[in-house]
């Protein structure tokens, strides 16, 4: 099913620049953005915050059976990254060998192409992570 451009366009700040939110009342930070703090709910005070893109590997896997559209890059590494500011994000791990990956290793954000909608469709970009050391 073909989809509209706005679906991707409205997420550009988050996907290109790792812009999330924080609740000024309780200090919790969120990525992706949330309109409501799950702790303070309507009493919370939500503001945008840009994350540094620094973090460490919390868990990882190597995907050998990808979904449609990701076939050309298989196998690829996927991780859950714990950002230094606290939130966890899911992202591909690139420029590394599977045997180099380990829980706790430091990583940093890189800006990459994620997937293209066919040969003439939208090219979607976003963050991936690479090993820092």
């Amino acid at each position: 099913m073909s989809k509209g451009l706005a679906l991707h366009w409205r997420l550009i700040p988050q996907r290109y620049n790792l812009v999330g939110t924080e609740c000024l009342k309780c200090g919790r930070k969120f990525f992706p953005t949330r309109q409501l703090c799950p702790e303070c709910r309507r009493a919370g005070d939500i503001k945008e915050v840009k994350f540094s893109g620094e973090g460490e590997i919390y868990s990882y896997t190597i995907i050998h059976t990808p979904p449609e559209g990701f076939d050309f890059m298989k196998p690829y590494a996927l991780g859950i990254i714990k950002l230094v500011e606290g939130p966890l994000v899911t992202a591909q791990l690139v420029d590394c060998k599977p045997e180099d990956l380990e829980i706790g290793k430091r990583v940093e954000l890189v800006f990459r192409k994620i997937i293209a909608d066919g040969s003439s469709g939208i090219i979607r970009y976003g963050y991936k992570f690479k090993l820092k050391d």
């Binding site: 919390y58 896997t61 995907i63 059976t65 076939d71 859950i80 966890l88 591909q92 829980i103």
Partner: protein
């Protein structure tokens, strides 16, 4: 809310790649079997709840309530589709239960159905990923096996769980499935076969993953008064609970336990005054082998972190301390996602009636069934008791 609710009829199709059967054929067949088993007539049925995860993507069909009522010859009665990813069936059962419990109706059918093999594997993978977070997981190339692989990796790191222990879950499921004529894979596998099967999402391999399956299941529920009048062996639903967690795995408090299961099971144990050690067997949601380990820990059949060990020790086998998935589970029996929660109720009822054939668990009185949606964002639990 004091009325008791019983399962008085059960039905299910063979699970597998059923190329000659349509979506509507599957659920009609399971429903007709359940109604026949209950010894009632179509006119007795006051309402339908159908669990189905993604018929729109798998079969291009929505508006499932009306479709199922129509092809069951029941047009006119209210019929509602319930969706909570792979927990759709369990939640349909819960809605049917609550409808009778509330006094709104006396006889209700809860069904579950999925027709998954009409699309390619990669399209099915995309449909199933709808159970996760489209914007922040699927967009990154995440698959469902990879989410459970991320959990497995944490469980192994935090508790020292081994791939051999995780593989033993699949070995046991296949052994049980070999005793179940409805199972998609009624054959045994060895630990070596599991650990040498194709890698799907490291450390999980093909034989750690439940399959893509067509199938349907249905149960007839009745109020105490009707149940006692209609059948000799009602199986009582004495507890029903459900809990949610964050949609994305990365927002969970922990990846090495399933909090929705812990919350729902505590509620169910409290409501029924039944303790984990009073449960004689359980059908749990082993969509991936690591999921069974998370399930049995979350249900307090062992301490957090000990799920691999008790599996390795044989405690979860049919003749073990706490038999898990005598049906073969999602791994061996098959996993037509919307049907799974209802198929668990079918197995538990068969066992409690003492009619489970070669896989019969001796002298069981209390059973627990556990159905999970997505990577754990929904858990639905029911506790069943023999008359």
């Amino acid at each position: 809310m004091s009325r008791k609710v019983a399962i008085i009829g059960i039905g299910m199709t063979k699970f597998g790649e059923l190329w000659n059967k349509r979506y509507r054929d599957l659920i009609t067949e399971a429903g007709a079997d359940a109604i026949k088993d209950a010894g009632i007539e179509g006119e007795d049925i006051q309402g339908l709840y159908i669990g189905s995860m993604s018929p729109g993507l798998f079969a291009g069909q929505e508006h499932i309530g009306a479709l199922v009522a129509d092809y069951s010859g029941l047009s006119g009665i209210p019929a509602t589709r319930i969706e909570a990813a792979c927990a759709s069936g369990g939640l349909a059962l819960r809605e049917a239960y609550l409808t009778i419990k509330s006094g709104a109706m006396d006889i209700v059918v809860a069904g579950g159905v999925e027709k998954m093999t009409d699309v390619t594997t990669s399209s099915a993978t995309i449909a199933l990923m709808g159970a996760g977070d489209q914007e922040w997981e699927a967009f990154k190339g995440v698959t469902f096996p990879s989410l459970y692989a991320l959990m497995a990796r944490r469980h192994m790191a935090e508790y020292g769980t081994t791939i051999e222990q995780i593989s033993q879950v699949a070995v046991k499921s296949h052994h049980n499935a070999s005793l179940n004529p409805h199972a998609q894979f009624p054959f045994k596998v060895t630990s070596e076969q599991v650990m040498n099967s194709a890698i799907i999402a490291d450390p999980l391999r093909l034989l750690h993953c439940s399959p893509i399956t067509d199938g349907a299941a249905a149960v007839v529920l009745a109020s105490e008064e009707k149940a006692k009048r209609l059948v000799d062996d009602p199986i009582w639903i004495i507890g029903s609970s459900s809990a949610t967690d964050t949609i994305a795995l990365h927002d969970r408090k922990s990846l090495s336990r399933m909090d929705s299961t812990i919350i729902a099971s505590k509620k169910a144990y409290k409501e029924t005054k039944i303790k984990p050690e009073d449960i004689d067997f359980a059908e749990v949601h082993d969509c991936f082998s690591i999921a069974e380990i998370l399930a049995i820990e979350g249900l307090s059949f062992c301490k957090l972190g000990d799920g691999g060990k008790i599996t390795e020790n044989g405690e979860t086998e049919i003749d073990g301390r706490i038999p898990i998935n005598p049906s073969g589970g999602l791994k061996g029996k098959g996993h037509p996602v919307g049907a799974t929660g209802i198929a668990q109720a079918v197995e538990a009822t068969l066992q409690l009636r003492g009619k489970a054939g070669k896989r019969q668990i001796k002298d069981s009185e209390n059973a627990l069934i556990h159905n999970v949606g997505g990577s754990g964002a929904t858990t639905v639990i029911h506790i069943l008791k023999r008359g």
